[in-house]
């Protein structure tokens, strides 16, 4: 006979027992495999969601600046995109964020993706679109369904769209238009499309369906004043599939970038050339007025490469030019030939002793003293020394006459500088008048000043429309006359060094010059050399070679690849659900062990026979194990089938009861073959291991005992010894529990939970040890008094018959109850803090984000007036304080985002926030006392390796970014350079989970192009919160201002962890119920083993009911012992929660769970007992 035949015969013969074991193995495998499949499903669903929203877009370029739409056309016409090239579609677009309001219902939705597109965009879609969508007419807009639903909009309704008005000129510069930062348009809804394919387009993957509005590209361009300009190019790759990553994606991205580099021109980087035929030069100027440093370097390098002189120029506006008070008044030495001097104009004669003191609103040029223009000025001014030294000024003749100034006088300029958040500061500087230049040649060139709409094109000074206040009362007739004749011709010249020192912006982030004058060396040896057209052509051809498009923000990304990387997620839901299912798997394993053991015990004689026949104990153990493995194998195969059901149920739970953990209904079942295999093998291992554990030592029993069918405990001495061990264990662990509880009461909040949990765990061990001691103890006293008490004593005593079995079942129940109940200690309560500065809210009541950065300081009356915030509630006197942060938009790094954040949101904390401090910290790198008192000051720490100090929330940093304190997060700055953000402190349970915080100063260094403030924390009297929130959202709707309570946001974050706890408790409860079933199996076995005794008791007169009570008391003793041990230990573990806020504990669900366990346990026991007691008497006595 082959062993296989033996195993199969054994399995078939003992099929009833084996069926139960198979069921246990199936449950273990189904739980394990199903849990792993949840991980597959999550990853698969995230991938589907993210990739689905890309349509066929594989690469994208999204820039802060606007560039020529024709760039997309040039890329599309390049050989790379022509068949058989690698790219199949190129679409220009405008991507912005904004708000949409229903024109009639006034429902408002913020954080909407606004897409300006044409039909080329829709050709990149994976869904076929009708012409009404792909060729949208002007005045119409397409909404996707989520947006339309939230707006309550239908086709034909009008909507108002607000967004930021892009400008090359930053609102943080003097000439930035803070009062024109937003754009609005009113459109009619033409179609509402389901959120699939590009109708849910989003480059930042997140599981929440984006709300998108699609506007005709030309309409949006017109509204923004950027005709023929876009900020986005989308490219489709030829070899891409819908779900896979093209193999050569990274290389193709590089080729796209190379192709882009070949086509980028001046207009794409906001540069333009102005040709001056009169003075024979070419001026390189910027739409941003200031030329950014990278462009300055490129232009100068390009000029040198083609042998041109490049003279940087900085122009500023002097509010006033006046003689310093120490200068003596004197008569004008030179009368201005064409413009009458003020004295002559006013009928005063020469030598008047009361000259005008102030010349208003004059352009002043700061120029390199060694530049050709400056040399010419110096010569005409008869300045003896070659260079205009720092501290020197040249005035033109008109200004000198007007002021009656002479060389040697001291001239004072007053001017504006733009401060933080739109603050204007008036400053002054005094110079030594070095010379006077006649109004001719270079000195009479208005071309020093770049074009600025509203100023340079104004008819008169009085018509000026600058973005800062001017006092029209200062303007005199002669000033208007000067403007009429000379326009922007500068009245004063200073050195470039002086100009950059006085008028530069912080760190020169926006640039330090306003133009570069290109001229041939020596002003041109030949006519052709000096021809501005020829110069311009040469320069335009040369410059792109020196531009780095990527560093200038024109950078292609391999979007599909990034999205797929993000879709791998932060949390391995497979592992998470395996841990949630731990008790279910453990209960199933216990059931397998228990039932198999019971079955094997019934085959004790078989084991004895094999041993007596000469099989070694090891061989016999192997035989049993193979018997069990065969059963486990069948159970595993059944379990794999059941795993699909388990996974489906878990996903249904995540879509409904546990939706707070994932925030998406778009979860579908996915199962990878490898996962199923791993789950099957793991389940098989668990079941087989349980079986191996259950038969351990069995073959070591005496053969004689086994032949007698006896597998019980060894002799009495062993009982006594093990009972003593249990006593010692109980005393020691109880002592530890008490000590830990004592320590816990005096511990701080952060360690209290852990201390109490440890105390509870020690108490659990003590309880189980005490139970062991009781089970092993010899009964005392003689039962001689009839009655219910005696019956109950017999029943309780019967629990001692098989100590191992009893302890296993009671222990499982106790452990499960303990874990399920004590998890309550880890529930997070968002209703904490309020105005407590040291809480998770930092003492802030509201937080907000605006789609358009606010250009004014909302903490000042002037700022609020400028923003139209007139509600008295917002008066600073009412203690409504804003802390504004700069914001680099990106991926949320909170637990609400299931995707891995590849480009996390970053905010810049102002000094006010750093000084204020607040929030709770889990840990920090604080060393000094000041840092320990206020870890926010660590943001000012510098590192030798150039890393930048950052603060993040502990949960986000550890679980989303997989980093920790002192670890680095690598990001890319505005110029595409990699920078390390080093975590110097971790916030605990804060409202800032979604953002990484750096100092404002470092933020400006990293992202100089991002101006204004878009993220706000606000504190105010609690009573005002609702009204303030409403007012802000209404009055700042054009900025897309969206405010929320910090406690609500905390609740959302905490809901994730609390949902995980609930999930664990639910599945743990199922495991507990399954364990209770095991208890019933144990009881059934016990009763069967004692059938002769029970039959004898019936023979001597015990009724069925009495015997049932006796047996059920045995069951109840173990059940209640387990439940009480678990509850007592759990109560200790959650003592802090009980003491602090007992009402927060979900008593009803806990009572329901534990109650269900007791009821099911008793019912199962009853079901096990009744048939046995009703068995025929005589056969039982005969042991048949």
């Amino acid at each position: 006979m082959r062993w296989l035949v033996y195993h199969i015969r054994s399995a078939t013969y003992h099929r009833r027992t084996n069926l139960a074991v198979t069921l246990g193995a199936a449950i273990a495998t189904a739980s394990l495999t199903g849990a792993l499949m949840v991980g597959d499903s999550m990853r698969g669903s995230l991938r589907e969601i993210a990739v689905g929203r890309l349509g066929r877009v594989d690469h994208s370029l999204v820039a802060q600046r606007f560039f020529r739409q024709a760039l997309a056309d040039e890329l599309a016409a390049s050989p790379q995109t022509q068949s058989p090239g690698d790219f199949t579609g190129v679409a220009p677009a405008i991507l912005l964020r904004g708000g949409v309001t229903h024109a009639e219902l006034h429902t408002r939705v913020e954080r909407v993706n606004l897409l300006g597109v044409d039909d080329r965009f829709w050709r990149l879609d994976s869904v076929e679109r009708p012409a009404s969508v792909s060729r949208l007419a002007d005045r119409y807009v397409i909404l996707n369904e989520p947006l339309a639903a939230e707006l309550n909009a239908n086709i034909g309704d009008d909507v108002l769209i607000h967004t930021a008005k892009p400008s090359a000129i930053s609102t943080e510069t003097l000439l930035g238009r803070r009062d024109d930062a937003t754009a609005a348009l009113r459109l009619t809804v033409a179609a509402i499309v389901p959120a699939e394919g590009l109708a849910a387009f989003d480059l930042n993957p997140r599981q929440v369906t984006p709300k998108n509005a699609y506007i005709p590209l030309t309409v949006l361009q017109r509204t923004l004043g950027r005709q023929d300009f876009v900020n986005t190019i989308l490219v489709s790759e030829k070899s891409a599939t819908d779900t896979g990553v093209p193999a050569a994606s990274e290389q193709l991205s590089e080729r796209l970038q190379e192709e882009l580099q070949h086509h980028v021109s001046l207009a794409d980087v906001d540069l333009k050339l102005r040709l001056d035929e009169t003075h024979r030069y070419v001026s390189v100027e910027s739409e941003a007025v200031l030329i950014e440093p990278a462009l300055e370097d490129a232009c100068i390098a390009a000029a040198r490469a083609i042998g041109l002189e490049a003279s940087p120029v900085l122009v500023h506006l002097a509010n006033t030019i006046s003689l310093d008070a120490s200068s003596e008044p004197r008569a004008s030495a030179h009368a201005t030939p064409q413009i009458p001097s003020p004295s002559q104009g006013e009928g005063q004669g020469e030598g008047d002793r009361n000259p005008p003191k102030v010349i208003p609103y004059s352009t002043v040029v700061a120029i390199d003293p060694n530049s050709p223009a400056m040399k010419e000025l110096a010569e005409t001014a008869s300045v003896k020394s070659m260079a205009l030294a720092p501290g020197d000024v040249l005035l033109n003749q008109w200004a000198a006459d007007d002021l009656h100034a002479r060389p040697g006088d001291r001239v004072t300029l007053t001017y504006y500088v733009s401060g933080d958040q739109g603050k204007l500061e008036t400053r002054s500087a005094t110079f030594a008048l070095r010379g006077v230049v006649p109004l001719s040649g270079s000195a009479a060139d208005p071309g020093f000043v770049p074009e600025y709409h509203g100023v340079t094109d104004a008819v008169s000074l009085a018509d000026w429309s600058p973005p800062f206040p001017i006092d029209l009362k200062l303007i005199r007739d002669q000033d208007e006359a000067y403007w009429k004749q000379y326009r922007t011709t500068p009245k004063a010249f200073v050195s470039l060094a002086d100009g950059q020192r006085l008028w530069g912006n912080e760190g020169d982030r926006f640039g330090r010059i306003t133009s570069i004058r290109l001229s041939p060396p020596n002003n041109g040896a030949t006519t052709s050399d000096a021809d501005p057209h020829a110069l311009a052509d040469k320069f335009q051809t040369e410059l792109p070679r020196h531009l780095n498009a990527a560093e200038l923000g024109l950078r292609f990304q391999s979007t599909r690849k990034q999205v797929l990387q993000a879709a791998t997620g932060n949390t391995d839901f497979g592992v998470l659900f395996v841990s949630f299912s731990f008790f279910l798997i453990l209960a199933a394993a216990m059931l397998v062990a228990l039932l198999f053991r019971l079955g094997v015990e019934r085959r004790a004689f078989e084991i004895g026979l094999l041993l007596a026949s000469g099989f070694t104990p090891r061989t016999v153990a192997r035989v049993l194990l193979w018997d069990g493995a065969l059963v486990a194998l069948v159970g595993g195969l059944v379990g794999v089938a059941g795993a699909f059901g388990y996974a489906w149920l878990m996903l249904a739970g995540l879509r409904s009861w546990w939706s707070a953990a994932v925030n998406t209904p778009l979860l579908r079942l996915h199962a990878e073959p490898m996962t199923v295999t791993i789950g099957f093998v793991a389940g098989l291992f668990v079941a087989t291991a349980s079986i191996a554990w259950s038969v351990r030592g069995l073959t070591r029993r005496s053969t004689r005992s086994l032949l007698d069918g006896n597998v019980g405990d060894s002799g009495l001495s062993g009982v006594v010894r093990r009972g003593r061990t249990a006593s010692i264990t109980a005393v020691v662990t109880l002592t530890i529990a008490v000590i830990l509880a004592g320590v816990a009461f005096s511990a701080d909040t952060s360690t209290q939970v852990a201390a109490f949990f440890s105390s509870g765990s020690a108490m659990l061990v003590a309880c189980l040890a005490a139970l062991t001691r009781w089970l092993r103890a010899q009964p005392h006293g003689i039962m001689h008094t009839p009655g219910v008490a005696a019956v109950m004593r017999i029943g309780a005593r019967n629990a001692r018959r098989n100590v191992g079995r009893s302890l296993l079942t009671a222990g499982l129940i106790a452990s499960a109850v303990f874990v399920i109940v004590s998890l309550e200690a880890f529930r997070l309560d968002s209703d904490i803090g309020g105005n407590d500065k040291q809480s998770g809210t930092g003492g802030f009541t509201l937080f907000a984000e605006s789609a358009v950065p606010l250009p004014y300081d909302v903490n000042t009356r002037e700022g609020r007036d400028a923003l139209g915030l007139t509600n008295p509630l917002l008066d600073p006197a009412r203690d409504v304080r804003f802390v504004p942060f700069r914001l680099r938009p990106g991926d949320e790094s909170s637990c609400l985002n299931l995707y891995h954040p590849t480009q996390p949101r970053i905010i810049g904390a102002p000094d006010a926030m750093i000084e204020r401090g607040g929030f709770r910290f889990a840990d920090s790198l604080a060393e000094t006392e000041e840092e320990k008192q206020n870890p926010w000051t660590l943001l000012r720490r510098t590192f030798a390796d150039g890393a930048i100090a950052a603060i993040g929330d502990e949960s986000a940093v550890m679980w989303q970014l997989h980093l920790g304190l002192g670890k680095d997060l690598v990001i890319k700055d505005d110029r595409g350079r990699e920078v390390k953000l080093r975590f110097v402190a971790l916030l605990k349970g804060s409202v800032m989970q979604s953002e990484i915080v750096v100092s404002d100063a470092q933020f400006v260094r990293l992202f100089p192009s991002l101006g204004g403030r878009s993220f706000f924390l606000m504190d105010m009297p609690s009573a005002d919160t609702v009204e303030v929130e409403r007012t802000l959202e209404k009055d700042l709707s054009s900025y897309g201002f969206d405010a929320s309570r910090t406690s609500d946001r905390l609740a959302e974050y905490f809901a994730v962890q609390n949902t995980y706890i609930s999930t664990f408790q639910t599945l743990g409860g199922l495991g507990l119920l399954l364990g209770t079933g095991g208890l019933a199996a144990v009881l059934l076995r016990n009763v069967w083993e004692r059938r002769r005794e029970l039959a004898l008791m019936r023979t001597v007169g015990f009724s069925h009911a009495t015997l049932a009570v006796m047996v059920l008391v045995e069951n109840a003793a173990l059940l209640v012992a387990g439940v009480l041990a678990g509850l007592l230990s759990a109560a200790l573990a959650i003592a802090p929660v009980i003491l602090k806020n007992a009402s927060s504990i979900p008593w009803s669900s806990l009572v329901l769970t534990v109650g269900a366990v007791v009821v099911v346990g008793m019912l199962a026991g009853l079901a096990a007992v009744v048939p046995t007691l009703r068995a025929p008497l005589i056969p039982a006595l005969r042991n048949e």
């Binding site: 013969y13 041993l611 026949s613 070694t616 104990p617």
Partner: protein
């Protein structure tokens, strides 16, 4: 016939030769119980050669089964020595002891202990699964021969549940002989059988033992069975006394 000749005879049969000469020297057996020692056997000695048979009788609790278990190496004596075929089995390691038991000793139990999931033939073959892999076909032949010998050649593929008590016990006898043991030990082999069946089984046992030239020790309450044995001992107060 001396032992060497017997072994030679068995060799001539092509069987594995096991010298079943049994020598028991003053063995004792005690068990600890509540602070004192429970003496089951004291100073038991006996010698048996191949082909010898003996019945051991005594009241319940006298230690008959304990003596049988010691002779069958199922449990060691507390004192004294046992040798079978010149080997003290209790000096062997676990594997050696199992192999020794497999080749040297055949058990017949009162409860027969047939595996209910196996056929009659398979039950007889069970001990061969613990032995060396060679000789599988010869083991099959021998099993058939033995079953034929015990009169069950037409029941080879039947399950134990389809046999009567006597038939089951005959299968147990065949199983005990499959490995040609030198020692056959039977614990109340007819205890669960009616008189007629018990007579038949008893006769069969004695016949096959003689044919196989093994040492046969039977523990029994039955005087009728015991009378058929040339040697009879009684265990009384732990001591073996010739009857």
């Amino acid at each position: 016939m001396n032992a060497i000749a017997m072994n030679a005879a068995r060799s001539a049969e092509g069987a594995s030769v096991v010298d079943g000469a049994l020598r028991v020297e003053s063995i004792g057996k005690t068990y600890p119980a509540r602070g004192r020692e429970l003496v089951i056997l004291r100073g038991v000695s006996l010698t048996m050669s191949a082909g010898d048979s003996a019945a051991v009788m005594g009241p319940s609790g006298s230690g008959k089964s304990t003596l049988l278990n010691i002779l069958g190496t199922l449990e060691p004596p507390t004192s004294g020595r046992v040798t079978i075929g010149g080997t003290d089995p209790f000096t062997l390691d676990e594997r050696g002891l199992a192999r020794f038991r497999n080749r040297t000793i055949g058990f017949i139990f009162q409860e027969h202990h047939l595996l209910p999931q196996c056929t009659v033939l398979e039950n007889v073959l069970l001990p061969t699964l613990a032995g060396p892999r060679e000789g599988g076909a010869s083991a099959l032949d021998r099993a058939r021969q033995l079953l034929d010998r015990v009169g069950l050649s037409d029941r080879l593929d039947h399950r134990p549940s389809e046999l009567s008590g006597g038939e089951r016990q005959r299968v147990a006898i065949a199983r005990a002989l499959i490995c040609r043991p030198g020692v056959l030990l039977a614990d109340e082999p007819t205890g669960n059988l009616d008189r007629t069946t018990a007579e038949a089984v008893g006769s069969l046992l004695l016949d096959v033992h003689r044919e196989q030239r093994a040492v046969l020790v039977v523990v029994t309450h039955s005087d009728r069975l015991a009378e058929r044995f040339p040697r009879r001992w009684e265990l009384n107060d732990g001591t073996l006394v010739a009857h």
